[in-house]
Symmetry: C2
Subunit: 334 residues, 2 copies
Amino acid sequence: MNKTIYDVAREAGVSMATVSRVLNGTAVVKEETKAKVQAAIEKLGYRPNAVARGLASKRTKTIGVILPDVSDLFHAEVLRGIEDIAMMYHYHIILTSSDAREDREIDLIGTMWEKQVDGLVFISERITKEIVRTFEQAQLPVVLCATDDPEGRIPSVAIDNESAAYDATRFFLDQGIANIAFFGGPTTHRVTMERRHGYERALQEAGQSVQESLILHAPDMKYEGAHSVAAEFLRQGHHAAAVVAASDEIALGYLNAVRDRGGNSPQDVLLLGFDNTRLSTIVRPELTTVAQPTYDLGAVSVRLLTKLLNEEPIDDYTVRLPHSIIERTSTKRG
Amino acid sequence: MNKTIYDVAREAGVSMATVSRVLNGTAVVKEETKAKVQAAIEKLGYRPNAVARGLASKRTKTIGVILPDVSDLFHAEVLRGIEDIAMMYHYHIILTSSDAREDREIDLIGTMWEKQVDGLVFISERITKEIVRTFEQAQLPVVLCATDDPEGRIPSVAIDNESAAYDATRFFLDQGIANIAFFGGPTTHRVTMERRHGYERALQEAGQSVQESLILHAPDMKYEGAHSVAAEFLRQGHHAAAVVAASDEIALGYLNAVRDRGGNSPQDVLLLGFDNTRLSTIVRPELTTVAQPTYDLGAVSVRLLTKLLNEEPIDDYTVRLPHSIIERTSTKRG
DNA sequence: ATGAAAGCGCTAACAT
DNA sequence: ATGTTAGCGCTTTCAT
């Protein structure tokens, strides 16, 4: 397979430039010679070397993806969306996990530059000034996925997290429920705080006061930590009639803490998760959840990035995808 | 950031060859000039262009990963192992999903060659002759992950699936249980069939006959399809005292089918899953499962691949990682 | 210990 | 419509 474009040119009796032209469709070539070239390519089993191409053209047809952790359900699903659309536009993906550490993120942006990716899809818990500065320095087209930056200077694709949590809280308030708790990830997590604000706004609009004791924060968006925090919450004798959780896993952490004490949902607590991951239908009771278009978040991010790369006209640099509440068993009151 | 090695050389007052040497540590450079070069690099904010490097050295420091679907829990976890160790050895990952389609797999191997990856980690449901031929043609070092090839010609890292299923079946047999069902993925899925053989061997050794009616196959390793198949199985009036499932999701599909009819586990059926994914502890009852060292499967695959790439001595081209049964609530008899 | 120079396999002017 | 040629930014002989 280690033939070059020269070999093909010789075999076809044309110049390498012509071969390049039929390869890239970058100029008109006579049907006849095109056929000769294609026959030669076929015969030799020639494949163009993407690295050489990348060096010569300064476009590698690869997109860098930086995210906190691939093994996280939500990210894995977003990634699938990224990958599918990238493939559709003939881009490849270079994947790296940052573990949500800013120093790693900054470092990775640098190595993405070294790899000469054409652009970057960036998923992070928070977009700091340092990060933004690194983007600018690297001069890489970037799309933020599933978050945005506070200043709105960087193109992004996400849902409106504040409204989503507002809607989720209203879902309970409209049923006349008081004692609604919020259960988020860490306070350093931008999305968590946006959702918390939505929760607080809904409460305030309804004339209910925000009780600090009903606001829980897990160490991350995963099940295990949430389970511990919820267990401690219940052990201290706290009680919530309903819980708005910032992820499905967090909701399940709360659910199992309740179960550990002999309770269950929806009988003892109404639970509303976030993300509509596959978990929410696998688990019993099935989990009511705020659906983010997870796959689409990735898919649309890449589409936006390709527009940036091709300098296509762009309507909106800050894309807001719709969310919706999917009602299942965990909020069905007897 | 678009400085070249020439800019650094000029700034430091040396030749580009010297800069290259300090960059790669490929030859001895006087401490003094090394310092000058490093100062220049620092000053200019120079970063080496990995694409140019790749073209000149014919080694790109990237590993291609082809797997059926990133958004699958098991694969996502394996991938994390791949990524971590790759990073540790200063390799990057180019990721592609094949959807378990052979034509895509073959196509992707080709594009991985185009990208000039140094090696490949390949995860697939079955290794056909066609695939093996493509590997050879591409002349790419490959490690199979979580499977092996029937002929054992390609380096691989996996568990012994036959034994694992044998052990799982024995787990029930040793408790004097008859009527043990096997619930796998599709019959075209190599790992499913290996596990099925282990199940059958255990039954035969115990003097029990293999009943076709107690062998179920889901369309894939996921929850949804398994749920339907299990529901149909129960609707037809079949009954199993225990189920050895080929994945955690398949086990949960069976579980919920039982629940849909008012039953539960472990009361009405003892359930044993496979993979020890995060699901198994999130769900209630907690799922007994055959633990594969999922992360390690990926990690060890990459380690093996790096040995291949560096021509380090290799003890074993067919690595078998250990499995174990983790006993939880779903198999606890009253 | 360092420099000069020839590629790596391709794209993209520039010619014709 | 096709060919010639100069790079792209490095690594790697080969000299010195």
